[in-house]
Symmetry: C2
Subunit: 477 residues, 2 copies
């Protein structure tokens, strides 16, 4: 009667689990020794008043996990089990305080003038779900397999046609790499550029600019060379004087200043790429779908006849941030390196969303959506600028470039950047100051102004006046 | 009358685009010189017989792109434009032949015994779409924003509870990092491990094993140390004798041999991690949802009391490959490094699918699906083994571990690996030989057998006999 006892009030869903657990614990606590024979299945079944099948299940599980072994016609025996070294204190089992996350509750009073958010209420979910059904009908079999590492060819064919029409981008579907955000594309582009170059990557970047990416570039061992930006975008003269071999820029709507690079400077920069084989441009065309009053500015890539521009586009602004669909177009020499270097890489994207996007574009819904959003955003933008001007009067200077989903504005105030940022928090308004995007922290000198990057895509039209009044409090209260 | 002439049969959608294009081309071809004044809007409108508004639109577009400039009360003038250097030949504009992709047509006769594919016909799309609607209702506002870099906390909370029940994994939601495939997780884990260690990363890996990942590890500058695998999985003795500081393994169903690592070896390996601060284990639990006859084997992580196991799981096998949802659980010290190193990383995943998955799990549909698939896969597996045994008789040895979505089998044949692989192609059967997964190419010695990795998840039950007959042809015809 040495063996185990069943509980009357056991929590186990199945009887065999209880038997398995109890024998396992006996073995782990050395209550039965290595080489000891277990009772025969029939005996144990009789002792416990359960079926032989139940005992068999328990023994089988112990066997497959290696707690016991069996000798044919002889029975089951306890395995030799190495002792597991455990820490004396259980302290290191608890999540340390510095790693704890607090649940951020949605604050219904919070308003957003952040450039990061998009207006999810206007997303045509119904149409999207219809495209999803079509995608399922057409491509169901492809959802169970791994697709091409650059994304399904069918989707790339559609993209290449579309960006040719909308952005003048001239490329073959083969040159497109679909991925999950500009970050991964930048990482892959930098790896490829580094392989193509026999000197270390030095990247000329816009200042102010997309600091988040610059940090990533530095982690990837690239040297970052900040280049100043004026109303015509990045200074091409400074690029030429620098020792950069790569330029990363946002020529069609500089982030965050909004500057549009004029044609002559574009040619000038493109000419620079032909000076050395390892000179390349990365064009981040992050929000070029949105343009008010005038037409879209053709991409820099559309002017490149020397396979020197890596073009990057994204659906984060034009569809939903949360979809994480973006792509790049690689020049032939870099594509060749990419294919070789990443030949074992599996694709990152949710194929189902890619095929859905494909239908959404093919059915004309994508461009329809963009058209509608252009009208909505223009209306919000005009209203916001009108209200800002009428409230702040001579205390505001708006850098009014009618493009994209944000603009910058300078405010005359005695407050410091710290104070403004603290006040924004207090007054429940998401809005970023320019210093998030500059290399040197802008000093708050007397008479110098506070520059904000003001996004208008996520705010409701009816909340604009409330947001503007909050801005006033942030600056002067 | 110097200026431009409109075509009668123009292809332009809008008149102003034609005027814009024609003036632009004149400027680019130096038909008008720098500083030349353009006709006044009224004059040009009269000349061309169009409205002044049309000319205004054309001039505005030329202005914003930087082809012309304006002097108030004086008019519009041609900008100084740098000449763009173009290649003499247009040869480098065409996609080189080596980069061309050919469209692979779906072959209805092709059968798959590949371990990579999943059975998409049995995926409960209807239920998934219902969860999608619930996710939309609950989380619509979150789809327009960037979520936590590790994935939404709500989803991680659900995951941590689920893997505790199904895999015994003991972790806080804070420790989970959701991403788009084991590859990205391995990359991030290796970066973090390298920061945690003051010596170069040397990774003990299973041989045979997941070669695709090992190639990636080497690209990330890790040294790879192949360790032999027997019927109990990776050799822990060899690991101890090696100078590896990290072990990457698939203990619950070794890939591809199927070996299940017994408890004593697990303890032995866990004890090895306590020898040095930089000793860590990466446990790839890639297909542990599927187990026949016995229960699941608890994860290695469930036995770790020293924060030494990085656990990796995936929904590629249990849902759809194409969703690309996978996750890892980081021990506290590594999580701290991750948070610091990746503090600027945006998440990779499609948030909408993550919230959908969340509902799918919460509503019990996920475990239901797994349960159903276990039955389906077991049936297919048994049938396949039965038919293989009955046709190949003494010429086949099946390594019959009742787990996962594949098994290995050795075939007696005079053919070489090259011949078998060529024959598989010819007979339209997707199936991989073991040499895809080994470091040294297995030599075809006399009397040595050909080992195949046979997957049974994607083949239809009714096609099994056809596939087995094709295998027979592949081996002996």
């Amino acid at each position: 009667m040495f063996f185990i006892k069943l509980d009357n009030d056991s929590n186990y869903e199945y009887l065999y689990r209880e038997i398995y657990e109890k024998i396992k614990n006996k073995i782990l606590r050395n209550k039965i020794n290595e080489g000891d024979k277990l009772p025969s299945k029939r005996n144990l079944a009789n002792q416990l008043g359960v079926s032989v099948n139940t005992i068999t299940s328990a023994y089988e599980q112990l066997l497959v996990e290696g707690y016991i072994y069996t000798i044919e016609r002889s029975g089951y025996f306890v395995e030799e089990i190495v002792e597991l070294s455990r820490p004396k204190s259980s302290k290191n089992q608890l999540l340390p305080n510095d790693l704890k996350e607090t649940v951020i509750k949605d604050n219904p009073n919070q308003l957003s003038l952040s450039h990061m958010d998009t207006d999810v209420d206007l997303f045509p979910f119904k149409e999207w779900f219809k495209s999803q059904q079509t995608a399922l009908k057409k491509h169901q079999q492809h959802l169970g397999h791994i697709t091409h590492q650059q994304g399904p060819l069918a989707v790339r064919q559609t993209l290449s046609k579309m960006i040719n029409v909308t952005r003048g981008v001239d490329c073959e579907p083969e040159q497109i790499i679909i991925s999950v955000g500009t970050q991964t594309l930048v990482e892959q582009a930098l790896n490829v550029l580094q392989i193509a170059s026999d000197e270390p990557l030095t990247i000329a970047v816009e200042n102010p600019g997309y600091q988040r990416l610059y940090g990533l570039m530095e982690q990837l061992n690239a040297k970052i060379n900040p280049i100043s930006v004026d109303e015509n975008g990045i200074s091409v003269d400074e690029v030429k004087q620098s020792n950069a071999n790569t330029v990363f820029l946002t020529p069609s709507h500089q982030f965050p200043t909004g500057a549009i690079m004029p044609i002559s400077k574009r040619f000038d920069l493109l000419n620079w790429t032909t000076k050395k084989p390892n000179h390349y441009i990365i064009e981040d065309d992050y929000d070029s779908e949105f343009k008010y009053q005038t037409d879209n500015i053709p991409s820099l890539q559309s002017l490149d006849f020397n396979q020197k521009v890596i073009y990057m586009g994204s659906f984060s602004k034009s569809l939903l941030m949360g979809f994480r669909i973006s792509y790049m177009v690689l020049p032939y020499p870099l594509l060749r390196i990419y294919r070789k270097h990443y030949n074992k890489l599996l694709p990152y994207n949710n194929v189902f969303s890619l095929f859905t996007l494909n239908e959404f574009i093919l059915e004309g819904k994508y461009l329809q959506h963009i058209k509608r959003m252009n009208l909505v955003y223009e209306k919000k933008r005009n209203e916001l600028i009108k209200q800002l001007t009428s409230l702040f009067k001579e205390n505001i200077t708006i850098n009014d470039v009618p493009a994209g989903l944000h603009f910058t504005a300078s405010f005359k105030t005695n407050k410091s950047y710290d104070e403004v940022e603290a006040a924004a928090k207090k007054h429940q308004l998401d809005v970023h100051t320019i210093r998030r995007f500059t290399f040197e922290s802008p000093k708050r000198e007397p008479n110098k102004e506070i520059v904000l990057v003001i996004g208008f895509s996520s705010i409701n039209f009816d909340d604009i006046s409330k947001a503007v009044r909050r801005l006033n409090k942030i600056m002067y209260e």
